[in-house]
Symmetry: C3
Amino acid sequence: MGTESGRNPQQWTLGELAGRLDVQLQGDQHHCVSGIGTLQNAEPHQVAFLANPGYRKQLADTSAGAVILTEQDAQEFNGNCLISPAPYVSYARLADWFVPEPQPAGIHDSAVVDDHAIIGQGVQIGANAVIGPGCQLGRNVQIGAGCVLESDCLVADDTVIMAKTWIGPNTRIGQRVRVHPGAVLGSDGFGLAWNQDHWKKVPQLGGLQIGDDCEIGANTTIDRGSIGNTVLHQDVRLDNQIQIAHNVEIGAHTAIAACTGIAGSTKIGAYCLIGGACGIGGHLQIADRITLTGMSMVTHSLRIAGSYGSAIPAAPEKIWHRNIARLRQLDKLWRRLKRTDKQ
Amino acid sequence: MGTESGRNPQQWTLGELAGRLDVQLQGDQHHCVSGIGTLQNAEPHQVAFLANPGYRKQLADTSAGAVILTEQDAQEFNGNCLISPAPYVSYARLADWFVPEPQPAGIHDSAVVDDHAIIGQGVQIGANAVIGPGCQLGRNVQIGAGCVLESDCLVADDTVIMAKTWIGPNTRIGQRVRVHPGAVLGSDGFGLAWNQDHWKKVPQLGGLQIGDDCEIGANTTIDRGSIGNTVLHQDVRLDNQIQIAHNVEIGAHTAIAACTGIAGSTKIGAYCLIGGACGIGGHLQIADRITLTGMSMVTHSLRIAGSYGSAIPAAPEKIWHRNIARLRQLDKLWRRLKRTDKQ
Amino acid sequence: MGTESGRNPQQWTLGELAGRLDVQLQGDQHHCVSGIGTLQNAEPHQVAFLANPGYRKQLADTSAGAVILTEQDAQEFNGNCLISPAPYVSYARLADWFVPEPQPAGIHDSAVVDDHAIIGQGVQIGANAVIGPGCQLGRNVQIGAGCVLESDCLVADDTVIMAKTWIGPNTRIGQRVRVHPGAVLGSDGFGLAWNQDHWKKVPQLGGLQIGDDCEIGANTTIDRGSIGNTVLHQDVRLDNQIQIAHNVEIGAHTAIAACTGIAGSTKIGAYCLIGGACGIGGHLQIADRITLTGMSMVTHSLRIAGSYGSAIPAAPEKIWHRNIARLRQLDKLWRRLKRTDKQ
């Protein structure tokens, strides 16, 4: 099972491939390939890759026509290799050739585009999309079917907004950004003031700025600022179902896995790697180059680069229940131990 | 408070009901009922059920016209009973009679259906739905209002896609599947390769296959594979707001509660029961018949059937803070204890 | 960076402001302001506020033209103050003046409104919205672009349903409710009965009732009841990406932060404050005035008002791993200690 060349159904010799990917070939330069596959499932006309060491054991048995791998892994492999200092990057470049062509430019008849929107050259707007007054779409922007852009949004060149995304008023989105279906960008933050005997909504008046080259996952929600802006700097990568509260700022090149939530006004540094389903409290500072393991909770600022965690891996339920029971008495245990020590 | 017979406003004697549900009646076969209700709220013209033992204490005071229960529970109840080896299944069958008729077949004028889509007999397509080129909808498929099906999706007979769902290109959905509103099926996975000083997107070229009789909850997201497919086998049941990453495979009859996330390339067995808000890491193997309690984290493969957990139930905050403080010094405590032991 | 007066571009003297907000002015009553800003960024023509003590240190350096604060904070501030017993409430009132006017009443040409829907005076329905048969929209209701209301929904006066929301059949929504984009209100609950060798879907026949003045966050999902109703009482405030299962009942004035999930048939009291990413089990009773800290899990009823928690803050990964290893042997440690004690 793998992927054939869709856009340009064609084949390449490994020699050509090595040249185009700027990697070193070890093996038969005349062998022809026309698709990509996994180490486990690739066939002789397909190229596979080895990036995650956990899959190294599959190398011996692969039927792939060639494997993209590091120089070190190549030493233990007899088949055709494309040797790269960064096999996953080289694979990604190869995979780019298999991405289907985007739909042709044009605005679908059923789209509702306000007369006061400014639409750049090469823009594609899908069926039933709604583009509000004052919106500006740069060159080659793609807006999927059923999207709703409220008033005065700015979407810069070459950005792709996939179907069924909502973009709030005044949102600014950079170049080459990719937003996946169902995302909500620029919603009201959760601002409430307790007024004697009921909640008073605090109007959310700020905006949302998304830098160039960011990626926003499916059904992810990002609130606009309450006064100032919520900001994603360049090349921030968000997976699906992430929640970013009002006035959060995320530094360049930070990547966040699915289901993580970040509370209001927290500032995340650059080059951070945040695991899935983490919870990060509000009004915190997370330094550059922080790694958080999955399902961690952060309640204080983390000011020193490094890896942090707080989640506990699952154990058989009976054993776990016994340990929880003890954990809930841990303070008492500790005190008793101290008494014993003194005696 | 309960539900009256909507589709066919009518009434049945308990004798008729017992026959149609294939259960044993104990009590007045001529008593007439016309609706269903809970043990607590049902009235004499309504049928209730007892499946969760936590509600057994409500049996004594129920005003229900009859109760569906097990033979054992029937021994302690003086009212009319419908005795079933599986009361919840029998209740579900009865409840089926109260489900409103689906809307009549037909394609709403405002729907945008590509000329190259193939639409089966009895298909119903709601207002403002968008069906892309190359899609095939089997017999009696229902597509809700505002859905977007990208190109080349296959939806088999009798499947119901509720409103505002997005289905990515080439997705294959089996028969009798039910997808709830806002689901995103076949989005790009979170594939990123670090390229010296920035992220390079790894194209997501695989597909998504959903087996017969699956159910997908509201706002749940399922990524398509990066090379091969993401696969849900037959009768997989997913609750709301679940996140399934690329290349995950879920075995038949596995049920997963809301808000759980599963990272990429993990394989979940058949007949698993996975609690809400769990986090399951990537590239793992979860065996058949694994039960995970709610909010558990899994970071290693689980190869032996059974129940696992790792979450901790809430305690009063002050006590909990003291125990956390000790937990964070637990390794030190342990070492001290060992020293004491040796002495 | 701040927000200028958008709706009515104008300015006020601090004297006027104090009068309109019913607060006490300390400072120059003739100073003119025309916008709002944060303590850190506000300029002399803008008003800032101090509500969260964590920002008190910014008071000394603010350039704001005036600051809304408590009498106590005013004693340590030399600039212009608007003294309020509840500064955040006073700020919210001021911020209300900067909220843009709603779009004018009217039904967009592209909206699909069933002939049997009843539409009140002053209603605004956005592009491509779908209003099903039997729906009733009260006065001044706003329905955003791309919303889908299934049959027989009732939306009371002055409620705002933002774009791309789905509302299931028979849902009842009170007055002045605000629903944010992508919410799913009234979806089927996760009702499954195990029938020998496969799952049988349990029809979900109940409804959803949302009280006056509630707020529902973006991409939040609320299931309708299985027999009776899911109920949100008055002034319940839900953040983004919350999951509320079937037959949950939430008491008046309870606020829940993002990403929390509540399992079926649980009853949450009034005046509760529930942190983000909590998981609350099914069939539980949570008393009035319970506070849950973020990422807590609740598996038993909480019957006494107070603050509860169970999550653990992140620590450096190496230290944390050592403590986890000990935690997993905690029961053994405890037993050993007991033996030592006896000796």
